[in-house]
Amino acid sequence: MIELRAVSKAYNGRNVIDSLSLNVEAGERVALFGPSGCGKSTVLNLIAGLLAPDSGEIVIDAELVATAHTILREPAQRGIGMVFQDLALWPHMTVAENIEFGLAAKRMPAEQRRQRVTEMIELVQLGAYRNARPGELSGGEQQRVALARALALSPRIVLMDEPLSALDDELNLQLRQEILTLHSRFAFTLVYVTHSRDEASALATRIIHLRHGRIA
């Protein structure tokens, strides 16, 4: 479960998140919906531990992970997978290496690692692109690599920051379906950021509408 307790965050003196409190239950699919600049991505970065709040507390699975200006649990210790808006695939690594990176960091034995990478690559149907670099893939294929990388460590929580915003309608619909399939298979908690009402209703069981850093 994710819990934000009166969390605030400001950039250059401007409050992006303003005393925000919210709960996300385990296994739930929540969409953070709102216009650009309303603080959606900041909420994800706070949950992931990439930012520390200016005030308030963040609790994940009943453990306090961040308080004002302090990160108590580093991002790698929170059991979170994330798909970034620009996907953030490492351009110098192959598809397999992008997925394997986290497994190696967790010191998974080499044989198990290879198996897991293969499993994830097959899951997202990219078997033919195992040794391709991100620059050689289409937009949809890159999305799948990002998904596979986020899921490789079997995270309890997956955060998605407008991952489908740059895709055409057809691909967008197809990938929405794939995300739902993956969710029903792995039962992770999904927090999905979008500014598209359509996407929010298709993917989430609950929609949280943000405006000026608060729940509208």
């Binding site: 990439l50 580093e74 991002p75 997978g81 994330m82 953030a88 351009p91 690594m93």
Partner: protein, 533 residues
């Protein structure tokens, strides 16, 4: 049309300033009394094993300096560019200070510490002192001095490029690994092209260095060229001797350019200007690492310069320095001011041309500018003489114009690359909008591009000024009789001048380099305060 013509003129100018002397030198090396001849090369090959040994020593020195500078420069670059170590800005400035100073001044400074008359030498007893002095005057001392001089190149490149890495790529790594793993697997591989570029520049700058090795009595190959030219005045032998250095530089630059340029450009496009970089919080290591970096800075930068100051602390030394070199000081100042003021607009045109890919020649121009920077100054100097030493062009050869041309050729890459980086940040849509309003290209440059790039243009001028001011390699070969520069005069006096006089001259050189930069900084500060008010 206006735009294409202007940029074509800039390309042609770069060709005349930089390419023609090099090609002219290559052609002249195959001529004897107006006919094709291999005489110069035969003479070079029959001169025994000495040139080969000196080339070996040059390559060994360059390798040592490159390994040291790359290792230390990357470590410092990560520490100062990526972590929350305190006083980052001050440390970066202090570590970069040696870039403002010609390497042989650092050699003089170090000899004031551990040389025969240095204070450490006096303090540690005769045997240890002899050992220390033998280290300084030889390969190790030379490598140490040039390491201090050129390490900032790698450090600054590392700082710039770790700042350019898209923080999302590191954040994605941080979700599964701690910072050391992210640095090793994500950040460093991403900035590897920039690190290799830094290593290549350090290698080539060391390979072409004459001043510090001469002072520290370590024989290197560029001295062979100087000897053939200045001592024997055998121009054919000097051009032939310059060819191996030209070939090595050309080969290394071609490899760097072919393999890495595209990847460096790709890295630039990864950067998301509006995203703040993620900093490594050092926690309990913050203070110890600061103390370590500060101590390193004190020993390698502050100590030698402070000693130089102490050694020169006599009014008589400064009075003598001004009396003997007043003309050289003024000439250096004048040459550097003119050189920087010409380099800035030409570099701006070349940088714009390269960044906006206006003519298909842009890649060749970029490579030529980089090649000219990494060529030893003596090679460029000899090329200039071979091109301009004709009855029809005596007005260039016999006047200060040839020194200025040398500066333009050797340092054009600096304002060019700086301008290209600035232009990259100006969205083309801003120019397109002005174009749609009917503005001419000149108007667009003057009203849109130049104001947006103003700070960068001033920085390009300042960097050009520093490099012109500290130049020794080109000036020592091409200066017209009676018109030497301060670095050349110091180099001449180093052999037989009193140590306090040489130290005073080095301090004067540092001051003359820094004073105009200080004036520009003050002026900028005032302009900014006024615009805020």
């Amino acid at each position: 049309m206006q735009r294409r013509l202007t940029l074509f003129a800039a390309a042609a100018l770069l060709g005349v300033i930089g390419l023609a002397p090099v090609l002219g030198m290559v052609a002249r090396s195959f001529l004897f009394e107006g006919a094709f001849s291999l005489r110069a090369y035969q003479a070079l090959l029959s001169s025994g094993a000495q040139p080969l040994r000196w080339m070996g020593q040059s390559l060994l020195l360059s390798s040592y300096v490159t390994i040291l500078a790359t290792t230390a420069g990357v470590a410092l670059g990560i520490l100062l560019g990526k972590t929350d170590v305190p006083w980052r800005g001050a440390l970066i400035t202090a570590f970069s200070a040696p870039l403002l100073i010609p390497p042989y001044v650092l050699a003089v400074a170090w000899s004031a510490v551990v040389g025969p008359t240095g204070w450490i030498t006096h303090a540690i007893g005769a045997d240890a002192a002899r050992l220390l002095t033998s280290w300084l005057f030889g390969l190790y001392g030379c490598a140490g001095v040039l390491f201090t001089a050129f390490m900032p190149v790698v450090m600054l490149l590392t700082i710039v490029y770790v700042g350019a890495v898209n923080p999302r790529l590191e954040d994605a790594g941080r979700l599964v690994s701690r910072w050391p793993g992210v640095l090793r697997r994500v950040t460093l591989p991403l900035i590897a092209p920039a690190i290799v570029l830094g290593a290549v520049v350090v290698f080539l700058l060391t390979l072409g260095e004459v001043g510090a090795p001469t002072y520290l009595r370590y024989h290197v190959y560029p001295v062979e060229i100087m000897t053939q030219f200045a001592a024997f005045y055998d121009f054919g032998a000097a051009t032939a001797a310059a060819m191996p250095l030209l070939m090595i530089t050309l080969a290394i630059v071609a490899v760097e350019y072919g393999l890495l340029e595209r990847r460096v450009s790709e890295l630039r496009t990864l950067a998301f200007g509006t995203q703040s970089r993620s900093r490594i919080r050092l926690g309990r290591w913050r203070r110890p690492l600061f103390v370590l970096a500060f101590a390193w800075m004190l020993v390698t930068v502050a100590l030698p310069i402070a000693n130089l100051l102490a050694q020169s602390a006599s009014l008589a030394a400064y009075a003598e320095a001004f009396a003997r070199t007043g003309g050289s000081i003024l000439r250096s100042l004048g040459y550097a001011l003119v050189g920087a003021s010409l380099l800035t607009p030409i570099g701006f045109a070349c940088g714009y041309f390269i960044q906006r890919r206006t003519l298909p020649l842009w890649r060749g121009m970029d490579a030529l500018a980089l090649l000219l920077f990494t060529l030893p100054g003596s090679v460029i100097g000899i090329g200039l003489i071979s091109l301009w030493n004709t009855p029809a062009t005596e007005v260039v050869y016999r006047t200060s114009a040839i020194v200025i041309l040398g500066y333009l050729a050797q340092y054009i890459v600096l304002p060019t690359r700086m301008t290209a980086a600035m232009v990259e940040r100006i969205p083309p849509s801003l120019e397109h909008a002005a174009q749609l309003c009917g503005a001419s290209w000149f108007t667009i440059v003057v009203r849109i591009v130049a104001p947006l790039a103003a700070r960068g243009l001033i920085a390009a001028w300042a960097v050009s000024y520093v490099f012109c001011m500290r130049d020794l390699g080109v000036s020592i070969v091409v200066y017209p009789p009676g018109s030497d520069t301060l670095p050349v005069r110091i180099m001449t006096l180093m052999a037989n001048g009193a140590p306090d006089l040489v130290a005073a001259l080095c301090i004067i050189l540092i001051a003359v380099t820094l004073l105009p930069l200080g004036a520009v900084a003050l002026w900028l500060g005032r302009v900014e305060r006024r615009s805020r008010a």
